[in-house]
C-alpha cells in the first residue's frame, strides 16, 4: 500500500463520524478505507481506473467505475454529507462544473488543490523560463495530467463566483502537518504548496462571511451544521 498521502490526515480530521462520504477519484480506496475504519463513514467511491475499482471492491468498499467529469451529474442532490476531491480538480476537463456539482451532491466539499502560486513555481518559471516541475507537480508539460492549474487566489475567486463559502482551509507542504491558513492571505499564495479547503454552499441570505483576519486562523462557526472542531496546532 502506498504511503499515506499528506492530505489524508487532514481530511480524516475534518470528516464527522458516521457521515455519508463520496470520494471522487478514490484510486485504490485508501482514504475511504481509512475513513470507514476511523470515522465509521458510509462511503462511496468514484474511480476511473479498472485497477483502482478492483482494489476498492476487494476492500469491500462501494465504488463506481466512472469519470468525475461526466458521472457526477447522475448523483442525486444532497445525497452525501461530504464530497471529497483530493488533488484532482486540476485534472478535470471542467473544474468549475465539477466544483459546483460536488456542492450539489453534498452539503460540504473537501477539495485539495496544488497552488501554482507557490514560490517554487514562481522561482522556477522566473529563473528557468520553463514550466515548473516541482515535488507537488512533477510531470513535464507534455505529459502532465494537470491541465487546469490555478493559484490559491484563483481558486478563492472561483469559490466566490460560485457563491461557495470557505469553512476551513489548511496548507500542506511536503509531509509537514497541516497548517490552518487564511486562504486570501497575501503570503499564503506564496508559501502554501497545496491547499485543502472545506467548502459549503453559501445560503442566499447569509451576509458576507469571508474571513477578514488576514493572517489569523479561519474561525467560521457553522450555525446550521455541526462544524468540525478546529484546534490550533502547535507549529511543527
Amino acid at each position: 500500500m502506498s504511503a499515506r498521502r499528506e492530505d489524508f490526515a487532514e481530511i480524516l480530521r475534518l470528516v464527522r463520524p458516521g457521515a455519508r462520504v463520496l470520494d471522487v477519484g478514490c484510486e485504490d480506496g485508501e482514504l475511504l478505507e481509512l475513513l470507514t475504519r476511523e470515522k465509521q463513514v458510509d462511503g462511496q467511491g468514484l474511480e476511473i481506473s479498472p485497477a483502482g475499482v478492483a482494489a476498492c471492491l476487494a476492500k469491500g468498499l462501494a465504488v463506481v467505475q466512472g469519470d468525475g467529469d461526466r458521472d457526477l451529474d447522475h448523483f442525486p442532490t444532497r445525497a452525501f454529507d461530504y464530497a471529497i476531491l483530493s488533488k484532482t480538480l486540476q485534472q478535470m476537463r471542467e473544474p468549475r462544473h465539477v466544483l459546483s456539482e460536488l456542492l450539489r451532491i453534498a452539503d460540504q466539499a473537501i477539495v485539495s488543490v496544488p497552488n501554482f502560486g507557490h514560490w517554487r513555481m514562481r522561482v522556477s518559471l522566473m529563473a528557468r523560463g520553463r514550466m515548473p516541475e516541482t515535488r507537488a507537480l512533477p510531470d513535464p508539460w507534455w505529459s502532465t495530467p494537470n491541465i487546469h492549474l490555478c493559484t490559491l487566489r484563483d481558486f478563492t475567486d472561483l469559490c466566490r463566483e460560485l457563491d461557495l463559502r470557505v469553512d476551513a482551509c489548511a496548507a500542506l507542504s511536503g509531509g509537514k502537518s497541516a497548517r490552518p491558513i487564511q486562504p486570501d492571505g497575501l503570503l499564503e499564495n506564496w508559501r502554501s504548496e497545496t491547499a485543502l479547503f472545506l467548502l459549503s454552499r453559501r445560503p442566499e441570505a447569509r451576509p458576507e462571511a469571508t474571513p477578514q483576519n488576514l493572517f489569523g486562523e479561519v474561525e467560521l462557526p457553522k450555525p446550521d451544521a455541526p462544524a468540525p472542531v478546529r484546534r490550533r496546532r502547535t507549529k511543527a
Binding site: 458510509d42 462511496q44 479498472p50 475499482v53 478492483a54 476498492c56 471492491l57 476487494a58 476492500k59 469491500g60 468498499l61 462501494a62 465504488v63 463506481v64 467505475q65 466512472g66 458521472d71 447522475h74 448523483f75 442525486p76 445525497a79
Partner: protein, 384 residues
C-alpha cells in the same frame, strides 16, 4: 404442504421440484394465472440457523438449476462452476445456494412442454406468455415455501441479471444484496431483432407444427439449431471469434460447395445440434419473449430510478464486460446511474476482457476477484 423434495447423496447438495397446490397459482403479469405451478431447484450448502446465508442464483436464457453441479441431461459441469463451489466466491461451506429453473423453462419447472391440466396434453402455445417479473414471482414463492424470509444475495448474469433487477424492484425487503452481471434494464431493438430471427427460424421449421410438435411426436430441431447459432454469435466478441477460428479450414482446401469448410461454421453447427438435445423449442420462444418484454423503467413511469426507490437498503454490485455487445457496458451504466439517483449503495466495474457476453461463464480472474471482494465484505456486514 404438497411438496416433494429429494436430497441427493453427498449431503450438501439438495433440491427437487416444488409442487405448489392448486390454491397457490402463479398470477402472471399478463393477467392470466398458471396452476398448478412447479418449480425445479437445486441447493448447495446448508441454511444456517438464523436463515441469513441464502443465495439465489438466477440463470440466463438457456441456463437451468444445475448451476454448481453436473447437469444430468448433458453430463457437463454446472454452468457456473467457476463461481459456485469449495474455495470459490460462492462457497457452499458458507452459503446456502439455491438455483431454480425459471417458469417457462424446460428443466422441470412448469413450461410449455408441461401437461396442460385442461387437455391432458402438453401446453404448447396454450401456455400463457410469461415475463421476467413472473419468473421472479415464482422464485419468491419458492423462497417463501423454503421458509426463507431474506436472501443474503440474489445473483445472476444476462437474463439472470434482469431477474436480479426485478427482485430489487419487487421484493427489496427480502434482499440484503444484489449482483447483476452483464445485463440491461431493457431489451434494445437489436436484442429484440436477434430474438425475432431465432423465433422465426423455429416457427419456419415444418416440424414446429404450430407449437404442437410434442403431441405429434416430432421436434423442430433444425429451426431451434439455427436459432441457437444466430444467438451464439451475439454471445461472443468479434476478436474472440477471430482469435479462436480466424479463417482456419476444417480440412485441407476448400470443398467448393456448402459443407462446413471453415472451423467457425463447424463450431456453430455443433453449438446448434448439441443445443437441441437439451432445450425445448417452445421454451425458447417463451423465454425470448419474456426478455423482449422486459423494460424495468416502463414498469415505473418511464423512470428507471423509480424502480429502485424502495431498495436503498440493498447493497448492489453491477458488473459488465468491455467486449459485450449484446448487453454493452452503457446499459449497466444506466442501471448504476439509476441506482445512484435512487440513493442506493452501488458498486460498478467494467471488466476488461475480449471474450464478449459469455465472459460471465468463463474463468475471468477480474470477475472472480470482484465477486470475492463483494461477497466477503457483504457477508461481514451481514454477520456471516
Amino acid at each position: 404442504m404438497d411438496a416433494s423434495t429429494e436430497t441427493v447423496a453427498g449431503g450438501e447438495t439438495g433440491g427437487g421440484t416444488w409442487k405448489f397446490p392448486a390454491n397457490k397459482p402463479l398470477r402472471l403479469e399478463s393477467g392470466a394465472t398458471l396452476s398448478p405451478l412447479e418449480v425445479a431447484y437445486k441447493t448447495y450448502g446448508r441454511l444456517n440457523e438464523a436463515k441469513t446465508n441464502a443465495v439465489l442464483i438466477c440463470h440466463a436464457l438457456t441456463g437451468d438449476q444445475h448451476a454448481g453441479s453436473v447437469n444430468p441431461v448433458t453430463g457437463r459441469p454446472g454452468w457456473w462452476d467457476s463461481v459456485i463451489g469449495p474455495g470459490l466466491p460462492l462457497d457452499p461451506e458458507r452459503y446456502f445456494i439455491i438455483a431454480t429453473n425459471v417458469v417457462g423453462g424446460c428443466m422441470g419447472s412448469t413450461g410449455p412442454a408441461s401437461t396442460n391440466p385442461k387437455t391432458g396434453q402438453p401446453y404448447g402455445l396454450a401456455f400463457p406468455v410469461i415475463t421476467i417479473a413472473d419468473m421472479v414471482r415464482a422464485q419468491a414463492m419458492l423462497i417463501e415455501a423454503l421458509g426463507i424470509d431474506t436472501l443474503f444475495a440474489v445473483v445472476g448474469g444476462s437474463m439472470g441479471g434482469m431477474q436480479v433487477l426485478q427482485w430489487a424492484a419487487d421484493y427489496p425487503q427480502k434482499l440484503f444484496s444484489a449482483v447483476c452481471v452483464a445485463a440491461a434494464p431493457r431489451h434494445s431493438a437489436q436484442n429484440i431483432a436477434f430474438h425475432e430471427v431465432g423465433r422465426q427460424a423455429i416457427m419456419a421449421d415444418p416440424d414446429w407444427r404450430g407449437g404442437a410438435y410434442e403431441s405429434q411426436g416430432v421436434r423442430p430441431e433444425k429451426g431451434l439449431a439455427v436459432a441457437r447459432m444466430a444467438a451464439h454469435i451475439t454471445y461472443l466478441s468479434e476478436p474472440a471469434l477471430q482469435r479462436k477460428f480466424g479463417r482456419e479450414l476444417q480440412r485441407d482446401g476448400l470443398s467448393w460447395g456448402f459443407d462446413a469448410d471453415f472451423q467457425v461454421e463447424s463450431y456453430l453447427r455443433h453449438q446448434g445440434t448439441s443445443f437441441v438435445d437439451r432445450f425445448d423449442a417452445n421454451s425458447y420462444l417463451y423465454i425470448t419473449r419474456a426478455l423482449d418484454y422486459f423494460d424495468l423503467a416502463a414498469q415505473h413511469g418511464g423512470v428507471l430510478a423509480q424502480a429502485f426507490q424502495t431498495a436503498r437498503a440493498v447493497r448492489f454490485c453491477v458488473l459488465s464486460f468491455s467486449s459485450d455487445w449484446l448487453y454493452p457496458t452503457a446499459e449497466s451504466r444506466d442501471i448504476v446511474r439509476a441506482l445512484n439517483a435512487a440513493g442506493c449503495r452501488a458498486s460498478f466495474a467494467e471488466i476488461e476482457t475480449d471474450k464478449g457476453h459469455d465472459a460471465f461463464f468463463l474463468d475471468e480472474p477480474q470477475l472472480d476477484a470482484t465477486l470475492r471482494g463483494f461477497f466477503a465484505s457483504t457477508a461481514q456486514a451481514r454477520g456471516l
